[in-house]
């Protein structure tokens, strides 16, 4: 479980996060949504420790990340899996090497054992027979799947994804969403996804945190999104006519 308490962060005098508090549960897919510039990426980067909070705390199963010793921090890092927006695969390494990299760095396993684990996670993300391809030889969706495979290869307790669907066609985006949700459920990972994709909100949003101007403006589930009267959420989520109609249909059905 990740507990965020009164998180503040700014850059050069500009406040980006203004006292965010929330909780992310294991086995649940939590989504952070909000307009561009609302502080989503800074929030996510603060969660993974790339930005140190100015004030407030983030605790991982009761352990506050800013109070870690060097050794504890190293241990905590190995419990984290991260899927970056652009996949962030190492260009010069093959798919197999990319996925094997954390194992090589942090385990003392033999090559055969590591290869077995790599093949297992690649199979889990439906990407067999691509071991020796370079990232440049893969489609965007395949790169995302390699990034997910690399993120879960160490059996993480916490999985973070920064806009995992950006640049993907709707069908591939759904496949990636379902894959993340399945993995979250299967391994009881605490998953936090930063997204703009309203399909993801509806499909896999077991918890949704809506940020506006660096503050948490709303939180709930994908079902709550239909019912909410929060104007900011309604404006943001139902900005497309299609979603407006879906919401109207849902509300009419409820009446």
């Amino acid at each position: 479980m990740i507990e965020v308490n009164n998180l503040h962060k700014g850059f050069g005098g500009v406040k980006v996060l203004k006292g965010i508090s929330t909780t992310f549960l294991p086995g649940k897919t939590s989504l952070i949504i909000g307009e561009s510039g609302s502080g989503k990426t800074v929030f996510l980067k603060s969660l993974i420790g790339l930005h140190a909070p100015e004030d407030g705390t983030i605790s991982f199963d009761g352990r506050i990340n800013t109070k870690f010793t060097q050794k504890e921090k190293q241990q905590w890092r190995q419990e984290i899996g991260m899927v970056f927006q652009g996949s962030a695969l190492f260009d010069s390494q093959t798919v197999e090497d990319n996925v094997m990299f954390p194992l090589k760095m942090f385990t003392a396993k033999m090559h055969e054992e590591m290869l077995e684990r790599v093949n297992f996670v690649l199979k889990r993300v439906n990407l067999e027979n691509s071991n020796h391809k370079l990232p440049a030889e893969l489609s965007g969706g395949m790169q995302k799947r390699v990034a997910i495979a690399r993120a879960i290869v160490m059996n993480p307790k916490y999985l973070f994804c920064d806009e995992p669907n950006s640049g993907l066609d709707p069908r591939t985006a759904i496949v990636i969403d379902q894959l993340i949700q399945e993995i979250t459920d299967e391994y009881q990972i605490t998953t936090v996804i930063n997204t703009h994709d309203m399909n993801s909100v509806m499909e896999i949003g077991e918890k949704i945190v809506f940020l506006k101007n660096g503050r948490k403006a709303w939180e709930g589930t994908s079902q709550d999104v239909f019912k909410t009267d929060n104007e900011a959420v309604v404006d943001f989520v139902y900005s497309s006519n299609l979603f407006k109609k879906v919401r109207e249909a849902y509300l009419n059905e409820k009446k």
Binding site: I48, A88, M105
Partner: protein, 246 residues
């Protein structure tokens, strides 16, 4: 950001670079790759340029020493001195600053803007140590060989020019090379090369690591890296010459 801030940030970066590698085996793999990318792949250009510049130095010296009272062996002597003292260590290092420096900045800069460095840091890896230290060791250990090869080929190019053009004889040239040979000059050249190699690896790494923005920013950083590395090589060369030879 002012120069003082950059200098401070550069030294802070060095402090993070020179740490014990987290995994020796992976570090060794990276080091071997850097030897290939930064060293072996520069062999061709250094050999080519050294050979022809050595020829031109000998040719220019021969054409300007037309007084019959000056012995022809002086051509070999002057070519040897110019090549060992300045051409091979300084000129070749400036060429390497252009070729290797831009490569280092663009590769690290691209890793920065595509979040590959963030990915390393999220995994708990000291990205500077992982990416920069192998480069520093590869250049510092390999460039003395590269520059020594440049010296040899430059002197050989001078000899071949004389033989082919008929401006001086090979015997006179070899006599000049052997005249007043001072082994310290070789040490001086190697000391300079090691320091220049350090600059060639670290200054472009600094520009690449701290780049902000996208591909245009990476391009600008590469240019800046080459310019600053060249400037630092030239300034360092002046001070080293004064310290070691006067």
């Amino acid at each position: 950001m002012n120069y003082l801030e950059h200098t401070g940030k550069y030294f802070i970066m060095l402090g993070r670079v020179f740490k014990k590698p987290q995994r020796t085996k992976i570090f060794y793999e990276f080091f071997i790759k850097e030897i290939e990318d930064l060293g072996l792949k520069s062999l061709g250009i250094i050999m080519f340029i050294s050979f022809f510049i050595g020829g031109v130095i000998a040719l220019q010296t021969a054409l300007n020493l037309d007084n019959p009272f000056i012995p022809k062996s002086l051509i070999g002597f002057a070519a040897k001195r110019s090549i060992i003292l300045e051409f091979a260590p300084t000129f070749c290092s400036i060429i390497l600053a252009g070729k290797v420096g831009s490569y280092i900045t663009s590769s690290i800069g691209t890793m920065r803007v595509t979040e590959q460095i963030d990915a390393l840091e999220v995994m708990g890896i000291n990205a500077l140590n992982q990416l920069v230290l192998p480069k520093v060791l590869a250049t510092v250990l390999f460039y003395p060989f590269l520059i020594s090869l440049g010296m040899f080929l430059g002197i050989f190019g001078g000899w071949l020019t004389g033989v082919l053009s008929g401006l001086f004889s090979g015997t006179d040239y070899i006599e000049g090379i052997q005249t007043d040979f001072n082994p310290f000059l070789l040490s001086y050249a190697i000391i300079k090369t090691v320091i220049f190699a350090f600059l060639i690896a670290t200054v472009p790494s600094y520009h690449g690591y701290y780049v902000k923005g996208g591909s245009i920013a990476v391009g600008k950083a590469s240019t800046q890296a080459v310019v600053w590395t060249t400037i630092l090589i030239v300034i360092t060369n002046y001070f080293l010459t004064q310290m070691l030879l006067t």
